[in-house]
């Protein structure tokens, strides 16, 4: 396969084995620029592991992960983030003791070294960015609230906002609407559509209605491999997919 592509993310022959168990098994995955890709699959299919490997949390046994044609597998986590890969965790992962403003402020991509952080000034540029992101995620009125006091849905949005502060070119979201109310789901779907305008997004999700609403393309994973890939309709009518996943 060619080593230089137009894809934002090109994963080739990726394998990770835990004591002989292959959680990801020779997986190939390509994500286009500005694409919103949804990954579905039964529990234990390796969806979260895949995201963990892209952001560096889990190290691969073999294979390659290229982000904008640059090999990521050799880089530590923080360097991958600086290249433009953002990751949202499954459970809302925010700083509960800090205010919403501070949560967004520390996510601003400046002053990332030790000395940089010591001399970092919260200037107008930062404040403008924080307030524009806060408006985007619907938390503009709660900037001074301690993040731990937010509702579950707001916490999820806050974490997405923290990622938006970094302007990532690839955003990975692990079950962003888990535990959200119907209204919150709708708002999140709109938010995802807006933020995928100028970046690629990978979403793991179980809620089929939600997937239908947002996905450009769906990838179905099963036992560490890709079972099917394509539009939602195509995937839903695929007999093997119905067999392992949708048929249950």
């Amino acid at each position: 396969m060619s080593s230089s592509t137009d894809f934002v993310l090109a994963i080739e022959d990726l394998t990770v084995s835990f004591d002989g168990f292959k959680a990801i098994d020779s997986l190939n995955l390509y994500v286009d620029k500005n694409e919103l890709r949804v990954i579905i699959g039964p529990n234990g299919a390796g969806k979260t592991t895949l995201l963990d490997m892209i952001c560096g949390r889990t190290r691969e046994t073999a294979g390659s992960i290229k982000f904008k044609n640059e090999e990521m597998t050799v880089l530590p986590e923080y360097a991958r983030v600086r290249k433009g890969i953002g990751r949202k965790f499954q459970t809302p992962s925010i700083y509960e003791n800090l205010s919403v403003f501070q949560n967004l402020e520390v996510s601003f991509p400046k002053g990332r070294s030790v000395f940089g952080a010591l001399v970092f000034k919260c200037d107008d540029e930062v404040k403008d960015k924080v307030s524009s992101v806060a408006r985007e995620i619907g938390l503009a009125d709660t900037l001074t609230t301690e993040a731990g006091l937010l509702s579950h849905g707001q916490k999820q949005w806050l974490e997405i906002g923290m990622l938006l502060m970094q302007e990532p070119e690839l955003l990975m979201l692990d079950e962003p609407i888990a535990g959200m109310s119907v209204r919150e789901r709708e708002l999140t779907a709109e938010l995802l559509k807006r933020i995928s305008n100028n970046r690629s997004v990978i979403v793991i999700e179980h809620d089929m209605e939600f997937v239908k609403k947002i996905a450009h393309k769906v990838t179905v994973m099963h036992q560490g491999k890709i079972l099917a890939e394509g539009s939602m309709d195509k995937v839903q009518s695929d007999p093997t997919v119905i067999e392992v996943y949708l048929g249950h």
Binding site: V81, I94, Y95, V106, A117
Partner: protein
């Protein structure tokens, strides 16, 4: 005046100002020289305690080996002082004059090479901060890059404390062994044992400590401080926000070590000796307790914690020689059980709200009094109005109220 008032209103400034007044004015005014010198000694532990606030309170990294850095700073200072105290004339009865007495007792015939730089005061002062920081860097870099943390890190720091004590005691000829370095007399010719010198050292110690507290406050308000709190809460989130978490931890550890070293140096200067009994596991744990009692989230609280714990230690051991260890234990257990965030936490959760409540009440009473006065004036004016046939010449009720308001305004 207005800008001064505004400065005091900034969070943290008032508490530092109060601490400064207590240390620089109240203590010297109330205490005799002996007690003041004792307070000076307690304050040297406060350096370690504020280092622990940054490291443990904010960063969530518990180190049970801070005595090592306190000791290293102290030894660096003590080596300089010892060399000065060992000039060839005062040590002429030794078989090798001009070297520290303990070297002579251990059959050393010349000054070891690594002792030579400590003849320079400048070098020694730099070493007081640099040597502990360097060791801290080596230990913590090796640990944090491998993601060793939490309880494992605490155990390793404790092992470092044990190793350091064993090393110091074992290398008697080079370090003075278990007795440490004693008979420290002068610093660049200035006698540190006179009453006057002790007072000067006390003030120097206080000022340096206050400087460290101010620097700590600066760190707390910087992004570095926010990141420490963030790391304590959700380390992975910080890492996946593009930060090299391990380097931040290393920096916090080195910072705490450097500050502890300064404390150790002041200890050697004020007390006049340095020994391995301030390096090992037990003193290291005691230092953590100082910080816990004072409140591990508050720099100023840590200073009060150091003062209170050490003062009670002295008080108990003077008055109840048989019981003092139990009393100390009771103090530690009591404080940490009743107030998990120490004295500073007690202040934040009880005294401050109480004070705010009281002052709101006072304000409300004052306001009610003014209202009553206005009402009274209003009624009086109405009476006058009713009495008089023409209402034009008489001040209206509004005028009366206005008058009262103007009068009662500060």
């Amino acid at each position: 005046m207005q800008s001064f008032k505004n400065l005091l209103k900034q969070p943290g400034v008032l508490s530092i100002a109060i601490l400064a007044v207590i240390l620089l004015v109240v203590f010297p005014a109330l205490l005799d020289n002996f007690r003041l010198n004792l307070v000076g000694k307690y304050l040297t532990y406060a350096f370690v305690a504020i280092g622990l606030v940054v490291l443990w309170g904010w960063g969530g990294i518990l180190s049970l080996g801070q005595g090592v850095f306190f000791g290293l700073g102290g030894y660096c200072m003590a080596m300089f002082l010892k060399l000065e105290a060992s000039d060839p004339i005062t040590t002429k009865i030794q078989s090798t004059p001009g070297i520290p007495d303990f070297m002579d007792w251990n059959q050393l015939t010349e000054l070891p090479l690594w002792w030579l730089p400590f003849k320079s005061l400048t070098f020694s002062l730099i070493a007081v901060i640099a040597v502990p920081s360097l060791l801290a860097f080596i230990v913590s870099y090796a640990m944090f890059k491998r993601r060793v943390g939490g309880v494992y890190f605490a155990i390793i720091t404790q092992a470092v404390a044990l190793i350091m004590t064993t090393l110091i005691i074992g290398m008697q000829g080079y370090t003075g062994g278990v007795n440490g370095m004693t008979d420290l007399k002068t610093m660049s010719g200035w006698d540190t044992r006179t009453d006057e010198a002790k007072i000067i050292l006390y003030y120097a110690c206080c000022l340096t400590l206050l400087l460290c507290v101010i620097a700590g406050t600066f760190i707390q308000r910087s992004k570095f401080g926010t990141l420490l709190l963030a790391m304590r809460d959700k380390e992975d989130r910080v890492r996946f926000s593009g930060y090299d978490v391990s380097m931040f931890k290393v920096a916090a550890f080195c910072l705490a070590a450097g500050v502890s070293g300064v404390g150790g140096a002041f200890f050697a200067l004020q007390v006049g000796f340095m020994s391995p009994s301030f390096v090992g596991i037990v003193p290291s744990i005691e230092l953590v307790i100082l910080c816990a009692v004072g409140g591990r989230l508050s720099l100023v609280g840590a200073v009060y914690g150091a003062l209170l714990v050490n003062a009670s230690k002295t008080l108990f051991s003077e008055n109840f020689p048989d019981l003092w260890l139990f009393l100390m234990a009771a103090l530690f257990i009591g404080v940490t059980m009743a107030f998990p965030y120490g004295l500073a936490g007690l202040f934040e959760s009880h005294i401050k709200p109480w004070w705010i409540r009281k002052s709101t009440e006072r304000r409300m009473i004052k306001q009610r009094l003014i209202e009553l006065e206005i009402e009274a004036a209003f009624e009086a004016a109405q009476e006058v109005q009713a009495d008089s046939a023409s209402a034009i010449a008489v001040p209206s009720a509004n005028d009366a109220a206005e008058l009262v308001i103007r009068r009662s305004a500060p």
